[in-house]
């Protein structure tokens, strides 16, 4: 396995797969995460796995890594039918996974992290010398300097931690290395290092499964690409036979264009303006404006920086440089409380963590942001008024619930989201920022939430929608800005196609 695999040898091995999966099916509860997936990975090659969020990539790699078990389907390892029942089984087969979030132990040294779970022993003791010997080559292979061996992992940068994760995977004699979105957190220079490491590994015969949203970079590293859509593998081809656009078309399933809501845009004066706004490490030099009555969609893949822009506008995080202007006044929004005073409201992306007070009633969840409106005296909250306001919103937003006293935790995702949205509307916002407004919401409720947002804009609210949902951004935006690697890379009108937008977000070069 140590001699380099040359081109002709690769050809000879064409019918010999390191891993082959046929007709894999996997459901969670009643939801089919994978309907029918086939995957065949050659040794000594890089196989890219791409698809939109929810296409089933993560589930498929979890099955390979033994973290999940398939409901049906066959797995072959070097041609032999194999049952991967646990992570331990997978590790024995040489399947090593580097997850998106480094799975490391911050307090332990790099050397300990690399060997954890398979310590070299001398009698009862861990053989530190033998481990240190093995570390020497390993750190070089993944491009880390020798001296980090003794540093606690918690003190390293994210990129270095990822290199440690790869070293950890290699210490276990990897035959298949799965890299889940390895480039999402890396800078361009760090990606170059990563690719060098990957090439070193494939030269040794390791099969690499490479998952990424950045389609353009696949052309630099991958040999083959498998595209997943709606839980199915729809295509496997040598990457040289495809263009970015063709891959994106396979991902979204044809050249569909979504209908957008009809009606004129009554654009008023500029409400929000970002002027060269930069937050180091997240986004840089963002210029955009949102007018009263306008809905601007910020579309970006996970890690693009789009979500970070919303957090700076709402005062959750601070900008490093640049200005935020509200109604032509430069403002320094340092806390969410200040943002609210300026009439900026945010619908947070993570409803359960940042939005809902789970055990509280619907009514309280609606009025919690504006309790001062409820009291006749300062600090005194009128329950009667609370219920009136809640009932009003339940009717206006068509929230399905028997009573406003129900806890929000008893509601479906869509209805809970309407309640959290209602909270932003108790006092009418000047600027409403929505982060992933319909994530985890069923189709019917999604439609209704989109209608509510459109209605608000028609009444003159400026709306900024941050979303990674392609059909959503096309449906509700008057203008679409595509964010990639922390920058605005393209602007579209709603008559653009999904393919054009995704291609820009994924990094098609000529766009």
């Amino acid at each position: 396995m140590s001699q380099p695999v040359t081109e002709p040898q690769k050809q000879n091995r064409a019918d010999e797969f390191r891993l082959e999966m046929r007709a894999i099916v996997k459901s969670y509860g009643g939801v089919r995460a994978i309907r029918n997936a086939d995957l065949a990975i050659r040794p000594g090659s890089v196989h890219a796995l791409v698809g939109e969020n929810g296409a089933g990539k993560s589930t498929l790699i979890k099955i390979i890594a033994g973290a999940e078990r398939a409901d049906a389907g066959d797995v072959f390892f070097d041609g032999t039918p194999t049952n991967i029942a646990s992570t331990t089984d997978a590790i024995k087969l040489g399947v090593q996974t580097v997850y998106q979030e480094p799975q490391l132990f911050p307090e332990l040294s790099v050397a300990e992290n690399v060997f954890v779970g398979r310590e070299l022993k001398r009698g009862l003791r861990v053989d530190w010398s033998a481990q240190a010997d093995q570390m020497h080559g390993l750190l070089g292979t993944v491009g880390l300097p020798e001296q980090v061996a003794t540093a606690p992992v918690g003190t390293l940068s994210i990129a270095q931690q990822q290199q440690v994760s790869i070293a950890k995977a290699l210490a276990g004699e990897a035959s298949i290395l799965i890299l889940d979105e390895p480039s999402a957190i890396l800078t361009d220079a760090e990606i170059d290092v990563l690719f060098t490491v990957i090439r070193r590994l494939t030269a040794k015969g390791v099969a690499v499964i490479y998952i990424s949203h950045r389609i353009d970079e696949l052309f630099r590293i991958a040999d083959e690409v498998t595209v997943m859509r709606d839980g199915q593998t729809v295509s496997t081809q040598p990457i040289g036979d495809l263009s970015v656009r063709q891959i994106v078309e396979l991902m979204v399933g044809g050249v569909l264009s979504e209908a957008r809501p009809a009606g004129d845009v009554h654009r008023g004066s500029t409400v929000l303006q970002l002027d060269h706004l930069t937050r180091d490490g997240h986004f840089s030099d963002i210029n955009l404006s949102v007018a009263a009555g306008e809905i601007v969609g910020l579309y970006g893949l996970i890690g693009s920086g789009a979500a970070d822009i919303a957090e700076v506008v709402y005062g959750i995080n601070r900008a490093s440089s640049g200005r935020v202007l509200i109604e032509d006044q430069a403002v320094a929004v340092k806390t969410p409380a200040q943002a609210k005073k300026l009439g900026i409201h945010l619908l947070p992306a993570n409803r359960s963590a940042q939005g809902a007070f789970s055990f509280q009633s619907i009514a309280l969840n609606i009025v919690i942001g504006e309790l001062q409106l409820l009291g006749r005296l300062r600090g005194w909250v009128s329950k009667k008024k609370e219920r009136e306001i809640a009932r009003d919103f339940i009717t206006r937003l068509a929230v399905k619930t028997p009573s406003e006293t129900q806890p929000i935790s008893a509601m479906s995702g869509g209805n809970a989201q309407k309640v959290v949205l209602a909270r932003q509307l108790v006092k009418r916002p000047t600027l409403l920022v929505l982060a992933e407004p319909t994530q985890g919401v069923d189709v019917g409720a999604k439609e209704e939430i989109h209608r509510i947002i459109s209605g608000l804009a028609d009444e003159g609210t400026a709306v900024l929608v941050v979303t990674s949902d392609l059909s959503e951004v096309l449906r509700i935006s008057d203008r679409i800005l595509v964010i990639r690697a922390g920058q605005v890379v393209a602007e579209f009108l709603p008559n653009a196609t999904q393919v054009e937008i995704l291609a820009a977000a994924a990094g098609e070069v000529d766009k």
Partner: protein
């Protein structure tokens, strides 16, 4: 490994080995040693009786059970768990063992075996509920603490246990409880600390406890059997509670009352935390725990000997805990930022 065998690596290797692990005794432990030494000297100056065997020996006797249980508690807290049921467990082990001594006159070894076996069972109950029930340790052990107390009070009945024979005097405060002037219970505790220190530092099993506390999910993915390891830490603590219960019986009078074990869980956790073990898991040391227990006992005993109101001891211990936890949290925050 000799130089001849691995000439290419030996130097670099050795340097690496030395630094892969944290130093054998950490900075925080040296600080604790310094604080304890300073206190002892100060107390020695203000109350000359303090630095005499008659004062130090009882101090070490009182340190022994706390530090011994502290060894198990350190293991638990390193895995990011906690056990607040040790007070109740001490009470139950002590009353059952004392009753056995009174009624059946079991010999020394039998009494210890009984107490340890009972403690082990209690620890296994805790560990199993925590590891497989997936409820936070503080909730489970808060519940079992009450159950253990209830059981212990049932065994007590409505009276104290009287007329306990001197079977356990080898762990007592008297001459029989000392070897070369050192209390046997303390010597045994130091031995346990030494073994635990070596285990945590040099065996895969020990390092895995740090891994579990640092990131349980990653530990599972690395092939570590997380749940059995967690059960083992609580079982160990239970067994050590069994031994410590014998220390408590031996160092008391011939009467055991219902206050036995009361509040001890807090004393043990205080020793562990003051000793530098992170309440967030992933970092800790048993040497620190021993020093923490000595520091707490020194303050408690010193305050009384100087003639200050005894509640001042609570104030000092409280301040130590806040300093220790505060340092830990600040360190964690600084790390997150970098």
């Amino acid at each position: 490994m000799t130089l001849e065998k691995k000439p290419a690596h030996s130097d670099a290797t050795r340097r690496t080995v030395r630094r892969v692990l944290p130093p054998p005794v950490t900075g925080q432990e040296f600080v604790l040693i310094g604080v304890i030494a300073a206190l002892w000297i100060l107390l020695g100056i203000f109350t000359p009786a303090f630095l005499t065997p008659g004062s130090i020996q009882p101090l070490l006797v009182s340190v022994a059970p706390i530090a011994l249980i502290g060894v198990g508690m350190t293991f638990i807290i390193i895995t990011a768990g906690i056990d607040v049921s040790v007070g109740g467990a001490i009470m139950l082990c002590a009353v059952v063992t004392a009753k056995a001594l009174v009624t059946t006159g079991v010999p020394l070894v039998g009494a210890i075996a009984l107490s340890v076996a009972l403690g082990l069972v209690l620890g296994l109950v805790n560990g199993t509920l925590i590891a497989y029930g997936r409820v936070h340790a503080i909730i489970i052990t808060f519940g079992t603490a009450n159950v253990f107390q209830f059981l212990a009070l049932r065994v007590f009945g409505s009276s104290t246990v009287n007329g306990i024979p001197s079977t356990l005097e080898v762990f007592g405060r008297g001459e029989a409880g000392r070897t070369l002037g050192v209390p046997n219970s303390f010597a045994l505790t130091v031995l346990a600390v030494a073994i635990a220190w070596w285990y945590l530092r040099h065996t895969a099993g020990g390092r895995h406890l740090f891994a579990i506390g640092g990131n349980a999910q990653a530990a599972r993915l690395a092939g570590i059997k997380v749940q059995p390891r967690i059960v083992a830490t609580y079982a160990l603590t239970g067994a050590l509670v069994g031994v410590a219960a014998c220390f408590f019986i031996a160092s008391g009078t011939s009467t055991l009352d219902q206050t036995i074990g009361s509040g001890r869980e807090l004393a043990v956790i205080a020793a562990v935390v003051i000793g530098g073990t992170s309440i967030l898991g992933g970092r800790g040391s048993v040497i620190g725990t021993l020093l923490g227990a000595i520091l707490v006992a020194t303050v408690t005993s010193g305050v009384t000997q100087i003639g200050w109101p005894s509640q001042l001891a609570n104030l000092f211990v409280g301040v130590f805990i806040i300093i220790a936890v505060g340092t830990d949290l600040l360190r964690e925050r600084a790390r997150r930022k970098s």
